[in-house]
């Protein structure tokens, strides 16, 4: 089987030639899903040269169809051969069948220019000019202090809070003591990494009356609504976006004011660290040096989780404006951010809703990791910063940045 692609306006015209059967269906699905991942969400299959379609082939089409419905795309099988038409209609998929090509399909040769403008590079949206976002630092443990009970806060994460920090989902301080680890919260969801290398991350979802609560030794939170949305996708010149590049875009749009942000995006590579032993176990204030620090922290060791999806929350400011640490690769930007990794799911294009987009991940396959993102600037061996290929970034200026200074 041979598959040809042609971008025509917003549509990707796909011409499979030959048999779509068990031996080709997997190749077919993989190839098409890769296109969807690249942001092509309106697919037209020109089936005029598809000689044969087996049940395995129908399954392949169905998978493509399902993926497209997640991102509110469109799917059609045009100009089917008699065999394909009959097979699809008798198996109940006549809704895919189109006699001709879509009417708004530009003529051949126009290419993907119109679509590329929409699906690549940076797009900015203002969601709500009057949205307000306020910051707080309800718990402020610093490594490697002894964790004192009085300074641990029980925090509740309602839908209008995004936060990051170190905490535990246990009910009381005593229970939580040995289980403090990195977490992040967004839109009523919390994902949390127990301080144990072998344990998978855990997560809590706001549902009906239930709101996630965490015992926090460290927390930075933003409460309110995000005023802006930034969509980013690769172009020929920019294959991916580093964290500092994204943060600079944020600062540029709000005149350099400190901001809170949430990012969802396909991972190019994440660089970060996480606790593997609860700070609750620290017996005295001290510096943690090598090699002992290896018993407390794990470091990713390589740019990790490429092609998965990251949920990142954080706070950013110009260096010096807050007491956030500045990024080695962008010394005028200061930030603290945590990232969670979820198995890949495509995001719809355009202006999407934070709560709805995030909910899909928390209701999907379980998260893979949570970490404190770092900018590994070690000479020669450094892994660099985390970077994303495409995605969405919601953010808003903080109205009370002074609490962070």
């Amino acid at each position: 089987m041979q598959i040809e692609f042609e971008q025509r306006g917003k549509y990707l015209l796909i011409q499979p030639k030959g048999r779509l059967d068990a031996s080709w269906s997997e190749h077919f699905t993989d190839t098409i899903l890769r296109q969807i991942r690249e942001g092509k969400h309106h697919l037209v299959i020109d089936a005029s040269e598809m000689d044969f379609l087996s049940s395995a082939g129908i399954r392949a089409l169905l998978m493509v169809y399902k993926e497209l419905s997640i991102v509110q795309g469109s799917f059609a099988v045009s100009n089917p051969t008699a065999f394909v038409e009959q097979t699809l209609s008798t198996s109940g998929f006549q809704m895919w069948l189109k006699k001709g090509l879509p009417e708004d399909l530009p003529a051949a040769g126009v290419g993907g220019e119109t679509d590329a403008a929409e699906n690549s590079g940076i797009q900015s949206f203002v969601l709500n000019e009057n949205a307000r976002l306020s910051a707080a630092e309800p718990a402020d443990w610093r490594p490697w202090e002894v964790v004192e009970k009085e300074r641990v806060q029980m925090l509740t994460f309602s839908k209008n809070i995004c936060a990051l920090g170190i905490g535990s989902a246990a009910g009381t301080f005593e229970e939580a003591r040995d289980h403090f680890g990195e977490f992040l919260a967004a839109a009523g969801n919390v994902v949390y990494q127990p301080p144990d290398e072998q344990a998978p991350p855990d997560y809590l979802i706001a549902e009906k009356q239930f709101l996630p609560r965490m015992q926090c030794v460290q927390a930075l939170s933003c409460k309110g609504e995000m005023a802006h949305l930034l969509r980013f996708a690769p172009t020929k010149a920019i294959p991916f976006y580093t964290a500092s590049a994204l943060l600079k875009h944020i600062l540029d749009q709000i005149e350099g004011k400190p901001a809170g942000f949430v990012v969802l995006g396909e991972i190019e590579g994440l660089v970060g660290t996480a606790l593997i032993r609860s700070p609750g176990r620290i017996r005295e204030n001290r510096d943690m040096t090598f090699p002992e620090v290896r018993d407390w922290l794990t470091f990713c060791g390589e740019r990790s989780y490429s092609h998965q999806q990251a949920l990142i929350t954080g706070i950013v400011s110009r260096a010096g404006a807050t007491r956030l640490p500045s990024m080695p690769s962008a010394p005028d930007v200061a930030t603290h951010m945590h990232g969670a990794v979820f198995p890949y799911q495509p995001l719809p294009n355009g202006k999407i809703d934070l709560e709805i987009a995030i909910a899909k991940f928390f209701n999907g396959p379980p998260p893979l990791a949570v970490m404190h993102l770092t900018d590994d600037d070690r000479p020669a061996v450094g892994l660099g910063e985390s970077a994303l290929v495409r995605g969405a970034c919601w953010f808003g200026a903080l109205e009370n940045p002074e609490v962070l200074s």
């Binding site: 290896r294 470091f299 390589e302 770092t374």
Partner: protein, 270 residues
Amino acid sequence: MLKVESISKTFHANTVNEVRALHDVCLTIEDGSFTGIIGTNGSGKSTLLNAVAGTFMPDAGSIHLAGHNITGWPEYKRASLVGRVFQDPFAGTAPDMSIAENVAIAMKRGQHRSLQFAVTRTFRDDVADRVRTLKMGLEDRLDNPIGTLSGGQRQALTLLMATWTRPKLLLLDEHTAALDPKSAAKVAELTKIIIEREKLTALMVTHSMQQAVELPDRIIMMHRGTIVEDYQQERKQRVRVPDLMATFDRVQKRELFDESVAGMLEVQYC
């Protein structure tokens, strides 16, 4: 019971090629248990097996097997207690001697070798019976030189030879690694059957995590000459290939976490 206490082995000590192949390894294997060893290339798995088999003397530490302190025993003497199958299908048999003669050599493992004829009629029948259980049709080829057999057939025979007289410990060093997938599966199956039937104490190095999960009842993971993980009992029963992969990953991460990382995190982890 095998008891390995703090053994260390450094090859090419005090040269640029110095390799610390084993570093203070302790390991106790209970009678009747089947232990798998996994680990990255060069992590010291074969070296551990060779130390137990007596291919070389360890620099430090002691090895006890079945109540004997075998630390100073030469390899051939340990063979009275230990059966072995190597990774190389050519290593375990004498190629230009017949199947029956090879088995005869194995039959006398750890015993006096007399001036009686090695391959008698009754012995041949005995060999034929046992070889038949391999289901490879070798029972009709007892007088053929082993060199004419395939790698899989050789490994199956070597396994049979290693267990002909019940060894106190069976050592298998990636014995399916050099075989084609089908033969590998067959030899792995035979391994399981024989070990279960004879209730053998076995130590198996394997490159296949799948095999490590399926065959043994304990998994040891080695890295840089030390044992870094030991899955026993319930933990072993629960463990799956992805868990082992994750453990590998963890071990490697820890290794990549060096002083420069610590320095970087001191500034950025706050």
